[in-house]
């Protein structure tokens, strides 16, 4: 099954991923992720059961999400209610 997920955080040798939509969390070994991923990088992943078997970086989603949230955060910083 293919899914969209973000790296919520790294914990030692593991990455904790949050799936788009239902926000279920999955743990996978960092070595399975492509080079260049950071906390907050969005991925396209393939899952078998609860296991991530493949992952590629979704740079477009990472950039678009950052842009959208930045606008929201700037609203808060300006004191918009």
């Amino acid at each position: 099954m293919k899914k969209s997920a973000v790296i919520d955080r790294f914990e030692g040798e593991y990455a904790i991923l949050t799936l788009d939509g239902d926000q279920r969390q999955l743990k996978c070994v960092r070595s399975l992720l492509p080079n260049g991923v950071l906390e907050g990088t969005w991925l396209q992943i393939e899952i078998e059961g609860d296991h991530v078997v493949n992952a590629t970086i979704d740079q477009e989603k990472t950039d678009n999400t950052l842009k959208r949230i930045k606008e929201k955060l700037e609203g808060l910083q300006r004191g918009e209610k």
């Binding site: 030692g12 907050g40 949230i69």
Partner: protein
């Protein structure tokens, strides 16, 4: 994933502050409701990982929150986006703090020891580190900060001594260095880790470092909910599961 931080602080004048809220639906909101806390005067998010801000989203959508304070780090996770949306929906006053700032909280103040500024890609090391003083007693809250932050705080020569230390990063060996613990010199150290968590928290080296400075160690995995009371001179510890 079996861990999270959530710390409720009640001031002598009856105000309520919460530092972090654990994962979404992890019971922090229910804890507040069971204990009759109908609003928060202050909510502090140390950093945007879901095991710290997830439960804050539940609270923002359920009860009035007056003020929200963060380190200002932006993040791309859906949990963080809901957190930002939640602050707006709650019409809470939003502010960002850094080293040298003070967070006013009733007749108590939190002193911000870190970060100096948001740097790099490691969210843990950008955690808000806060020191609270009440009378002759003091408390240090590390968020998930590690050795890098500890070194920066030590080199900035700010007061770090605290009677009670909330150990950084769930008791991970990413921090709690002997040099830092020696400067803090807590009599009581508390780590927050899930029972049988996936990451081996607390790490043995951290426990050994805490033992070496003579701290009495408590952990949420073994002691459940940990309640600390201070009258300004004496500190009392009560746990939901006996030692």
């Amino acid at each position: 994933m079996g861990q999270g931080d959530a710390i409720l602080i009640q001031s002598p004048d009856g105000k309520n502050a919460l530092i972090d809220g654990g994962e979404p639906n992890s019971g922090t909101l229910q804890y507040l409701q069971i204990h009759g806390i109908k609003q928060l005067d202050l909510m502090i998010a140390t950093h945007p990982h879901s095991d710290h801000i997830g439960g804050l989203v539940d609270i923002l959508l359920a009860i009035p929150v007056n003020r929200v304070v963060t380190n200002g780090q932006i993040y791309t996770s859906p949990t963080y986006e809901q957190f930002i949306d939640g602050i707006k929906k709650a019409k809470a006053i939003y502010s960002e703090v850094k080293q040298g700032d003070k967070i006013y909280f009733g007749d108590l103040d939190f002193y911000v020891l870190s970060p100096v500024s948001i740097q790099g890609n490691d969210l843990n090391e950008n955690s808000l580190v806060l020191r609270l003083v009440y009378g002759k007693t003091s408390f240090l809250f590390m968020g998930d900060a590690g050795a890098l932050t500890e070194g920066e705080i030590l080199s900035s020569h700010i007061t770090v001594q605290a009677d009670v230390l909330k150990v950084g990063h769930h008791g991970s060996d990413s921090g709690s260095t002997p040099a830092f613990l020696s400067a803090v010199h807590p009599t009581i150290a508390i780590y927050m880790a899930g029972r049988k968590n996936d990451f081996g928290f607390p790490h043995l080296s951290t426990i050994n470092n805490l033992k070496a400075i003579g701290a009495e160690i408590y952990g949420t995995d073994k002691n459940g909910t940990i309640i600390i009371t201070s009258d300004g001179s004496l500190i009392n510890v009560h746990t939901s599961i006996s030692k």
